[in-house]
Subunit: 343 residues, 2 copies
Amino acid sequence: MSMRSELGEAPEIVRSLVERQRGVIDSVGEAIASRPVDLVLMAARGTSDHAAIYAQYIFGVYNKLPVALAAPSIQSLYGVAPRLRNALAIGVSQSGQSPDVVGVIEEARRQNALTIAITNDVKSPLSRAAEFHIDIHAGRERAVAATKTYVAELTALAMLSTALQDDGVARKQLAEVPDAIAAALGLEELVAAAARDQAGMQRAVILGRGFNYATALEWSLKLKEMSYVLADAYSTADFEHGPIAMIDPGFVVHAIAADGPTLPEIKAVLGRLREAGARLVVASNSVDALAFAEVPLRLPAAPEWLSPLSAIIPGQLFAYHLALAKHLDTERPRHIQKVTKTR
Amino acid sequence: MSMRSELGEAPEIVRSLVERQRGVIDSVGEAIASRPVDLVLMAARGTSDHAAIYAQYIFGVYNKLPVALAAPSIQSLYGVAPRLRNALAIGVSQSGQSPDVVGVIEEARRQNALTIAITNDVKSPLSRAAEFHIDIHAGRERAVAATKTYVAELTALAMLSTALQDDGVARKQLAEVPDAIAAALGLEELVAAAARDQAGMQRAVILGRGFNYATALEWSLKLKEMSYVLADAYSTADFEHGPIAMIDPGFVVHAIAADGPTLPEIKAVLGRLREAGARLVVASNSVDALAFAEVPLRLPAAPEWLSPLSAIIPGQLFAYHLALAKHLDTERPRHIQKVTKTR
């Protein structure tokens, strides 16, 4: 099994989650609805932290819940537990092993907050620490760089948000995600050619906004860990507050531009970048946004809230093919391990 | 007035804030203490967003408050206002102009949350939107890159946290910050030489952890906006979860390593980086951490919670001298404006 074949499993994993885990996730949703919740606290690291950022948007926009991303070191290093009155604490981790994430969930449960673990290992410390466990059922992930488990984590979070509103339209849209992911996988040839063409790049900027801010972050992490490119991710809003100064002619920018309320702003930034001479790779389901690109990657039609589940695919493929073009080890990047036990 | 002279004003600005604004900030603290607060919601962009991250640690560790960083687009682009029952909402902005930040505070006030604006302009929309206003009294900042106002924002937040606990020791420590900043300014010659030496760099990684994660983020932003280096900031914990794979011999890494509970982990990462051949610039008040560095920058002794107020100074100086070495405009970097009105 390689990273490439693992990422190709995403459509079937999402299909299985949507069909088989609905009962479990709906019952977690009922438990949440029965308690006062002023705050969702997300605890996660690395790739799972990007799923947590997706959660910030999805719970904010569809469930009107404010979401905080835990700074686990407040507890693990400074020895202080913030007061979690009326909190819902969610730990997200493929392995369920990271002691600092486990620590946040254990403390939240001690304070009688509602706790949920989202993991790929039902027997992990994180799964056992939480009151409720959602198994992402992604099968073992051998490659160090997480791919299918990221998409599965997003799916579990989207299903949880949907369970909290019991929305029939949303459930139908969820059922269409596997086909959208399969369509995104069809971009591979185009992506591989672009990756070969950009094999010499040492740095890049990755832009997204709203729901796809998480996509930009995860896309950049794949480029960093798989192909050693210093790829910096930004919300287009923050990017305009300073970092845009870095852009000179030839600078590589990848942008994720999903159709929706964020599109006008992203298009405006793409226009400024094109004027500044940036080389633009644009993943979008908007013809207008694609028109700015040197490399247009046409994403499948999708409601914006679910677009991150397919929009990350060309990013994963790009990192994989860039690693191949650079003759790097796609399964075991240097310096890193599959499970990092930060405290 | 130049960026260099503005950053040099930090000691006097902090001294004046600590001495003159204590009454105002203590009364804001009393208002907070009189209400139930389950959550602090920070709304900010750019440099001020890094002050918000400092707030996450300071309110978490010293006031046991969970802190969420608002995603302003949830409201400004998706048109949804998260429920802010029992929330304290704090907007931080030098200019007080950014419509999305103002929007978060207006909505929080509409929902009867306690609202505070921290700005450098008492007449700004943000100051008028909030129930309480803390003026950072930094004087006009003309350079596009914020320096003195960042230190002043941190000071106001540190004072607010202190007001909530009414801690005599903390107040004494605050009074010593101006001298620490002045001592950090004394590093200028060393920093300028290092900047000239690294003038050819196009990318770098900036590391911090805990309270100084904010310092790493702001240090990297200065390098990006002033000297066009793609400088990527990480908590050392997240860095080990993947991005460390990018490091090859000669890669430039700047690290902020303050004495305290985060130091052992940072030292372990510095050891791995040195083995991997990274070129290390280390700003630290720990002799052990400085021993890993090619360029050791000895920070003044400071309690860890206040160390970010002086630790950012060598980063600001580095960005300034790197811009000079690269013959760039230190006052008006390309592509960006002083006030960015993101929606």
